[in-house]
């Protein structure tokens, strides 16, 4: 990846790869996650996608995308630790497939800059009817959280676990905050964050990089920015173990266990933690899969996953209500086995192989490549994929994992 500083607030990152049939380009705005601003922040990419100065309605904007050989536009709100990342991105057919040496990389760069930096305005505010529509969309997305009980149970555990921390805020914020926002206030917030946020622009594919770079540099040259850095994520130790239950009309119990690993991505033993998680619950080779599922038949899905930036680990499983204790106990038998080093050479080997296979595969997909490199920037680890693989290969096991929160979603009859 090539990283170029456009100005104090903006970096341009180029992942050059000739094999892709598409080119992706996106802008990612980093905001510190907090309850006060999260909802306002989240609304911004939803508003930006509706129109811009150059294409002042959704219809005109969509027609322009169609003219660019069916270009696609995406809006996103991601959470990496306590960094809330607002994204506007595009996918176009690679210039090399277009007839008569036409290039649309130029046009899509112009469009992205207009969408992000020249939003559609009326009376010095966001368009009222688009604003109401997008407020409703976000409201429904927040309300939709409860529909997928697997994700819901994972989220509820994190929410309770990090109740007094920024990480406990949902990536789209809350409906209470949403109801209070006006289009005027949102536009004023937009102006604040554009000038006071760190911004990454990513391009993946094959483009005339100097031309894109100059275009962006020229576009932002008259704009004012206050120099900032990536938002930081706070680390807190686990206190007493907390236990939460919700009762709903469900058919399967959903068990979540939230742990604090106390390991930062920049710590030397972070890669050991990655391997630890893989052995413990990171796939069909793991101890959780082979024991909770294959040996005891207690579950169809059971896995552990790391939240890299905040140093958390979650275990998630769908079980019979009555098997709560059995599943819980077995999860801890397996956790203790990994912690005490009860790991065969073969388990270590296959866990590393699985991780390497996953990361190598990122090289084949633009979305994964962008996510890998953005993650490395946010975590300040700055690995290449091959560098990351070397660190995984070098791992011997170590850990400091502590249980923080138990969460169980159970049925009305349990």
């Amino acid at each position: 990846m090539q990283k170029i500083k456009i100005c104090d607030n903006i970096n341009l990152n180029y992942i050059q790869e000739t094999k892709f049939k598409t080119t992706t380009i996106g802008t990612y705005i980093h905001r510190p996650l907090n309850a006060k601003d999260a909802t306002k922040n989240a609304l911004i990419p939803y508003m930006l996608r509706r129109g811009c100065a150059k294409y002042p309605s959704t219809r005109l904007l969509e027609e322009h995308l169609d003219d660019l050989y069916g270009a696609k536009m995406y809006h996103s709100v991601e959470k990496k630790g306590e960094d809330q990342i607002l994204g506007i991105s595009f996918k176009i057919v690679s210039d090399k497939y277009l007839p008569d040496n036409v290039s649309i990389t130029d046009s899509i760069t112009d469009l992205m800059l207009s969408v992000v930096f020249e939003p559609l305005l009326e009376n010095n505010s966001f368009n009222t009817s688009y604003f109401e529509q997008e407020k409703k969309t976000i409201k429904e997305e927040i309300e939709n959280l409860i529909n997928d009980k697997r994700d819901y149970a994972v989220w509820r555990c994190f929410e309770e676990m990090c109740k007094n921390e920024a990480y406990g805020v949902y990536k789209l914020g809350s409906i209470e905050q949403l109801d209070k926002i006006t289009p005027q206030e949102l536009y004023s917030h937009y102006k604040d964050i554009i000038s006071s946020s760190f911004i990454d622009i990513f391009i993946c594919g094959e483009v005339d990089f100097d031309a894109v770079c100059n275009k962006i540099r020229q576009f932002v040259s008259g704009m004012k920015f206050n120099a900032v850095q990536y938002p930081e994520t706070a680390f807190n130790p686990a206190g007493d173990v907390k236990h939460f239950e919700d009762i709903m009309d469900v058919n399967q119990g959903k068990l979540s266990l939230g742990f604090r690993t106390n390991i930062k991505p920049t710590d030397s033993d972070y890669y050991a933690l990655v391997v630890f998680n893989s052995i413990f619950g990171g796939g069909a080779h793991s101890k959780l899969f082979n024991n909770v599922r294959e040996k005891l038949s207690l579950a169809y899905y059971v896995f552990s996953r790391l939240e890299k930036y905040k140093g958390l680990m979650i275990v998630s499983s769908g079980i019979e209500f009555a098997n709560y204790q059995k599943a819980y106990d077995e999860i801890f038998v397996q956790l203790d086995a990994v912690k005490s080093g009860d790991i065969s050479d073969n388990e270590l080997f296959v866990a590393k192989s699985a991780l390497i296979n996953t990361v190598e595969s990122y090289k084949d997909e633009q979305g994964y490549l962008r996510n890998f490199y953005l993650s490395e920037l946010v975590a300040n680890t700055n690995n290449t994929i091959d560098g990351y693989i070397e660190k995984i290969k070098a791992v011997t096991i170590a850990n400091k994992i502590v249980l923080d929160t138990e969460y169980f979603l159970k049925g009305t009859e349990a």
Binding site: Q252, H285, A299, Y301, I356, N357, E360, S361
Partner: protein
């Protein structure tokens, strides 16, 4: 075997096709600059095929709902009591399978040792190994898979629609069957 090649002019990618003497259709899509290899081995047997006449017999055999999916799970058992996931894991591959209305498919992806992984795929799918114990053990696992889908609004909406559309067709049955129907599956 006669191999047919078709090269796409726009992308310059080639698809190879041949028919094996056994009747198996084989397709190979070359992606030379890519890291990941993917192989899938599929048969035209799925959840709707619950009544059939076995070749050489003249009566109809009816099997419990969800048996195609149950079979998919059980193909991963090996005669040495290991499971095939371990064999794939040894060579850095990630394996999985799925059952649809009319197909069962087994597949893996890997970034190394492709031919060893391909041999594992072709081997295990053609080598069933069932014991009372390993068939029995799967009931708890698939039971929880069914319960998981019971809590999925999208899946329920889809099958409620099929139930409204069809009266007798077996497409209205859940692919994994029910906790009751899979309790009737024995070796």
């Amino acid at each position: 075997m006669n191999i047919i090649e078709r090269t796409d002019k726009a992308t310059n990618e080639t698809l190879f096709y041949t028919k094996h003497p056994s009747g198996l259709d084989i397709y190979i899509q070359k992606k030379s600059e890519y890291k990941k290899c993917h192989a899938i081995f599929a048969t035209k047997y799925g959840s709707i095929d619950s009544s059939f006449v076995v070749p050489g017999e003249d009566v109809t055999t009816t099997v419990p709902d969800g048996i195609a999916h149950y079979l998919e799970h059980k193909m991963f058992e090996e005669p040495d009591d290991s499971n095939v996931f371990d064999k794939f894991a040894q060579h850095g591959a990630s394996a999985n399978a799925f059952t649809s209305f009319d197909k069962t498919a087994y597949y893996f992806t890997c970034t190394s040792d492709f031919y060893q992984n391909l041999a594992t795929l072709l081997g295990f799918v053609q080598r069933p190994y069932f014991t009372d114990e390993n068939v029995q053990k799967e009931q708890g696992i698939i039971g929880q898979e069914i319960r998981m889908y019971d809590d999925s609004p999208n899946w329920r909406l889809f099958f409620n629609t099929l139930n409204a559309l069809y009266n007798k067709h077996t497409i209205k049955k859940d692919i994994a069957g029910t906790v009751e129907s899979i309790a009737q599956i024995f070796i």
